[in-house]
């Protein structure tokens, strides 16, 4: 697989605050990467750097180009939805389509209209008359009708109700993703995206604290429900994270041989939310 994004030592300061302090990572072609971190971890700054929306220090190549030089050229091959509700409120749905058709060489109006036909959004409605969920549907329909190589979603479902959130990701996965396109999603709602990711990037305080394929999760990490008699033994193996659960200890281990762990209790692949908590606590201590 080839790399669509290569980032080395991304650094960005807002006054004294370091939004990014030397973040390095790659994004593979055809992957769905989750950029996951708590609020203020540097997610949005990372994505803005990728999209040429902010200055930064470090080396960054997006589809082989430096986004600091010529955002508009990269935007022919990259699309993004930044948060919800950035579509201009005065615009009519029809005018949004007219505009994108006029400026984007890879936009298919037929496809956008077909996608919109499945929603309740009428072409003459103004964006300000639509609910938050409908605005997101509209934006997604526009973006899905653009044939790009990289789609960047920054907290795309923030503030939406559960029905819209669910259909947003279903749509993305079923109607859009085709392994030619790569997707980067930033979110702090881990559970929501867990099932669709192929790659995980955890970010905290401007650093990448985990860079892992979803398929490798089981071989790198283990979630063990430790038998009470083996707690001391388990603690010696240096768990990332320990939690009391119904009178037993649950521990997450990184890079410990599975055979040794199975002797201590039930072993599972940790879910992303638990791993996230483990990693965040680890990077804070």
């Amino acid at each position: 697989m080839s790399e669509i994004v290569q980032a080395r030592g991304l650094t960005k300061h807002y006054g004294d605050f370091a939004a990014l302090s030397g973040a390095s990572f790659n994004v593979q072609k055809g992957s769905i990467t989750g950029l996951i971190g708590p609020n203020g971890a540097g997610k949005t700054t990372t994505l803005k750097a990728l999209l040429g929306l902010t200055d930064f220090d470090g080396d960054l190549a997006v589809l082989g180009n430096d986004p600091r030089k010529g955002r508009h050229r990269i935007m022919e091959r990259v699309c993004f939805i930044a948060d919800v509700g950035v579509l201009p409120r005065w615009m009519r749905v029809r005018e949004v389509l007219d505009y994108v058709e006029g400026v984007h060489p890879r936009f298919s109006r037929e496809r956008a209209q077909a996608l919109l036909a499945e929603t309740d959004i009428a072409p003459r409605r103004r964006v300000r008359e639509l609910s938050k969920g409908m605005v997101t549907q509209l934006h997604l329909a526009v973006v899905m009708a653009i044939d790009v190589e990289l789609l960047v979603l920054d907290e795309p479902t923030l503030g939406l109700d559960i029905l819209y959130r669910k259909s947003f990701y279903d749509r993305l996965l079923n109607d859009y993703f085709d392994h030619e396109t790569s997707i980067i999603i930033s979110t702090h709602q881990v559970e929501e995206v867990e099932s669709l990711l192929t790659h995980l990037l955890f970010i905290n305080e401007g650093h990448i604290v985990l860079d892992c394929e979803m398929d490798d999760l089981g071989s790198r990490f283990a979630d063990v429900l430790v038998d009470p008699s083996h707690v001391d033994q388990a603690m010696q193996l240096g768990p990332l994270y320990v939690r009391d659960m119904l009178g037993r200890k649950r521990m997450i281990f990184e890079g410990v041989d599975r055979g040794r762990l199975e002797a201590l209790g039930e072993v599972h692949v940790p879910n992303v939310a638990d791993l996230f908590v483990a990693k965040m606590q680890r990077s804070r201590s």
């Binding site: 999209l51 929306l53 508009h72 699309c79 939805i81 201009p88 005065w90 615009m91 006029g102 400026v103």
Partner: protein, 306 residues
């Protein structure tokens, strides 16, 4: 892909109020006024006034004829040709004045709001997700201000003037006055339009430093762009007064803050403005304008939502 027309179309769509409804509203208002005066032009009225001259008071009475009444039109037709020409010319020019004042206000408020507004409502994140360069965006907004708006207001002026002439023609026909002889023959409408469009074109160039300044402020101000747009020049003027022995900055700022000499005279010709336009000062001013536009493009590339 030629995106400039698409960008300008979207500016027009966003600012339908300024581009269509405001000038249209003024046309409707002026026409309503004319029709009103036509409908109530049956009688003449008299005005009494007292004049004091050399310590002596004298009472006067003046008969005022509504211009579109039978009496008014017949009296007008009897005037010498030169007087008729002058009176018509003044009326035609007078119609354009409210449009030009409106154009000036609308242009400046459009420019000060445009790059600020897209950051404040965060739509800049949508615009920037499209393959359109910042230079192209800023250019489209500048063209909107110096080409699209003047053209539209010019059309509105022409429409208002034609409607005025038509109403006067109907009035003349109703009162059996020859409209060609009294109105159209002396109106010099086409010459007036030529002069007006020439002035608008020159004025668009004259406007550039002010337009560029407003766009620059709009591109970086985080709050109250209007306040910045006014405070910085006022501050410069004060500083210059205190610190420097000359008044170049004050002179320069006051010169370009206003439209290029209003074409209020009937005998106005754009060539009268040319000495103001073709000199070293204008070249320097345009260079400063270009630098400020570049600054606005630079800032647009580096800012996102407020």
């Amino acid at each position: 892909m030629n995106t400039l027309p698409v960008l300008i179309r979207r500016e027009v769509q966003e600012h339908r109020g300024l581009v269509i409804y405001t000038p249209l509203g003024l046309v409707v208002f002026l026409v309503a006024m004319m029709l009103f005066s036509f409908a109530f032009s049956g009688s003449s009225s008299s005005v009494s006034y007292t004049m004091t001259k050399d310590g002596m008071q004298s009472d006067h009475r003046m008969e005022v004829f509504a211009p579109l009444s039978s009496e008014g039109l017949h009296r007008f037709a009897e005037l010498p040709e030169q007087k008729r020409e002058a009176w018509l010319g003044k009326s035609i020019v007078a119609i354009s004045v409210p449009f030009l004042i409106l154009l000036w206000t609308v242009t400046f408020s459009y420019l000060i709001g445009t790059l600020y507004g897209e950051r404040r409502d965060r739509s800049i994140l949508f615009w920037k997700s499209m393959p359109v360069s910042d230079a192209m965006t800023v250019t489209s907004k500048l063209l909107m201000a110096v080409v699209v708006l003047p053209v539209i207001y010019f059309v509105a002026i022409v429409v208002a003037q034609l409607i005025m002439m038509l109403i006067a023609t109907v009035a003349a026909l109703v009162h059996s006055v020859d409209p060609w002889h009294v109105l159209w023959g002396q109106s010099h409408l086409v010459a007036h339009w030529g002069a007006l469009s020439g002035w608008l074109a020159l004025n668009a160039i004259w406007y550039l430093p002010a337009c560029a300044w407003l766009m620059l402020v709009s591109s970086w101000a985080r709050t109250a762009p209007w306040a910045w747009a006014l405070a910085v020049p006022v501050g410069l003027v004060i500083l210059e007064k205190i610190l420097l022995p000359f008044t170049w900055i004050s002179h320069w700022i006051s010169l370009y803050s206003w439209p290029l000499g209003m074409p209020y005279r009937v005998e106005f010709h754009p060539a009268m403005c040319l000495p103001l336009m073709f000199n070293v000062q204008m070249v320097v001013s345009l260079a400063i304008a270009a630098a400020m536009i570049y600054g606005a493009i630079y800032m647009r590339g580096r800012t996102d939502e407020i």
